[in-house]
């Protein structure tokens, strides 16, 4: 059988798992090929007699006819994956105060004493920030209140919510609110306000009591676990069970006990966990020697935890590992997934932005943290001094975007995972002094590469139980629905 007129369409590849190859193309489709098939394919000699020929054609690695129509399809998928660019900034984080009642040892923001002066956002600044937020062309706006502990500056938080709702009467955007709170000092009145205005709660839980209390401490002394659990139940009673989500931070204390963290999340009725490694900012840098761990150890334990979670689902408890869900959604569907920390170009500024308590604007919380440490390289401007156009269309944000496209970054451009990955220019800068940074030896790259390797091994293995659990997460269906077990 002779070979047709073949166009090999663009793709990235890597040797994978022995002699096989993993191929990923511009639309995010992936395929595993044996070494012989790969050589025949790239030599343009693959014929329709080979099963690989049909896989390659159907997933747009190979084209033999109607090239313009094929390119139309691939471009449409590419456009879908990059949809976050056209929406522009939708996540707007407001630092309501830098004060905090906690003194967590890994605090990324280096919070101030809970009675400190000069670290609160004033209502005037909050209203000005809200005015800027609604200049974003995004049809969907999420305002996230951060701190410190944002509930400690209650008057401004309340004013920001009420003013944003008032302004939105003119714009009619889809408007969401999230408050990031440690729940330690939250009151019934505050929770009732959240209920009335649809403010979701995002909180922090590092595991069972001893793990949580190891790093999440009260300034006045002692752990926060008991207060956290008491107020978690209160928040759920008022807001509804699903309106409170939690994040964990992995430190040297819990990196080898992630199974206990998961058990605690399940015990407290959370529907999933985001297994999150420590970020190199704030006190996490200062305390790195005491709190840090090798990336390889994190990913090794991440895989063990993922296997436990999969088994938990198979045993009847629906529980999602959110980072895996995010990556699998990118790998197995053509949809855009909003996650500012792993986008190309980076989501810094164009997907998410943070307004400091004094109205300074930064493309990411980590950039604001650098400024707190004395380096204002990433300050985009101030809502009182600079126009929206200067802040969001100025040279700095354009530089961040131009220098965070993995498609053209050294080491990333030929990486097989680049269709699913992203760049962190702020982290690159903090580590190397350069926004593009260096991938070899870089923990961000190492962590994501190891996690992608682990997930693709699972996809290659194609175990039906694992795949059913994964599809139940991606589709939002129950495991029984995915398996067709429901009537």
């Amino acid at each position: 059988m002779s070979a047709d007129r073949q166009h090999i369409l663009p793709f990235q590849f890597s040797r994978f798992d022995g002699d096989d190859y993993l191929l990923v193309n511009e639309s995010g489709e992936h395929l595993f090929l044996g070494g012989d098939d790969f050589q025949t394919f790239i030599g343009g000699q693959l014929t329709s007699a080979s099963p690989a020929y049909h896989d390659l054609k159907s997933r747009h690695f190979l084209n033999t006819e109607h090239l313009p129509e094929t390119l139309e399809l691939v471009a449409a998928k590419y456009r879908s994956r990059k949809r976050f660019i056209s929406n522009f900034t939708s996540l707007h984080m407001m630092v309501i105060t830098l004060k905090c009642c906690n003194d967590c040892s890994y605090c990324q923001v280096s919070a101030e004493e809970d009675d400190a002066k000069g670290f609160d956002m004033s209502p005037e600044v909050a209203r000005r920030v809200v005015d800027y937020i609604f200049k974003s062309p995004s049809p969907s706006i999420k305002i996230e209140f951060q701190g410190g502990e944002p509930t400690l500056n209650w008057g401004t938080l309340k004013e920001a919510v009420l003013y944003a709702k008032q302004v939105n009467k003119k714009f009619g955007k889809h408007l969401d609110f999230v408050v990031c709170t440690n729940l330690v000092k939250v009151t019934e009145g505050q929770l009732l306000f959240f209920k009335e205005h649809g403010v979701h709660v995002s909180t922090s839980l590092d595991g069972p009591r001893d793990l949580h209390d190891k790093n999440r401490l009260l300034r006045s002394g002692g752990g926060t676990y008991d207060l956290f659990v008491k107020n978690l139940h209160e928040a759920r009673r008022i807001l509804g069970h699903g309106e409170v989500n939690a994040l964990m931070t992995t430190t040297v204390d819990n990196v080898n006990r992630i199974d206990e963290v998961i058990a605690e999340y399940v015990r407290l009725g959370f529907g999933g966990v985001f297994l999150r490694s420590l970020n190199p900012y704030g006190l996490a840098v200062v305390n790195a020697e005491d709190m840090g761990y090798p990336v390889e150890l994190f990913v090794d334990n991440f895989e063990k935890a993922l296997d436990s979670i999969i088994q938990l689902n198979l045993d009847g408890t629906r529980f999602v590992e959110f980072y895996t869900n995010l990556l699998l959604t990118r790998i197995l569907t053509p949809f855009s997934t909003g996650f500012v920390d792993l986008q190309s170009p980076s989501g810094a500024g164009i997907s998410g932005v943070i307004y400091d308590h004094d109205g300074d604007v930064f493309p990411a919380d980590e950039a604001r943290m650098l400024a707190r440490m004395g380096d204002r390289r990433f300050c985009l401007g101030n809502v009182f001094r600079d126009s929206y156009e200067i802040i969001f269309g100025g040279d700095l944000l354009r530089e961040i975007v131009a220098k965070s496209c993995v498609e053209v970054m050294p080491g990333c451009s030929s990486c097989v995972y680049r269709s699913y990955c992203g760049a962190d220019p702020v982290r690159n800068y903090s580590e190397t002094g350069d926004l593009i940074g260096r991938r070899p030896g870089n923990d961000f790259c190492k962590k994501n590469t190891l996690i992608f390797n682990m997930l693709f091994k699972k996809l290659k293995r194609n175990n039906s139980d694992e795949m059913d659990v994964f599809w139940s997460w991606i589709s939002g269906q129950s495991l029984a629905e995915v398996r067709g077990d429901t009537i």
Binding site: P10, F11, R15, P68, A75
Partner: protein
């Protein structure tokens, strides 16, 4: 029969070099294959008199198997050369896909130029 080690000169103390023929491997492929090693090595690519370059590896620390790393470099060279060849063949298609995704083109007309 030649072995890869015939092209590697191990000078000891974490220093070694490998000679690469530039008639077979493009400089871009040599650079790209070197890049993943910069975390562990200082690397210099320097021209020889003939159609070849010498890639000098000097370990930044102890504990590296430099011969094994240079063999991995040789394998990576082949992959990078394949990537370059594919990019020469279909790089324009990649550009068309990206351009059309954000600002629709006349793909019928563009495809005729491929």
């Amino acid at each position: 029969m030649k072995a890869i080690s015939d092209f590697i000169t191990d000078e000891g103390s974490g220093r070694a070099n490998i000679t690469v023929n530039t008639a077979i491997y493009a400089l871009d492929a040599i650079h790209a294959a070197s890049y993943p090693f910069i975390a562990d090595y200082h690397i210099l690519i320097t021209p020889d008199a003939d159609d070849s370059v010498t890639v000098v590896f000097e370990a930044k620390g102890e504990g590296r198997d430099i011969t094994a790393d240079l063999k991995e470099f040789a394998t990576s060279l082949i992959d990078q050369q394949v990537r370059l060849r594919l990019d020469q063949a279909n790089g324009k298609i990649r550009d068309l896909i990206v351009a059309h995704a954000f600002a629709p083109l006349d793909l019928q007309k563009e495809a005729e130029t491929l």
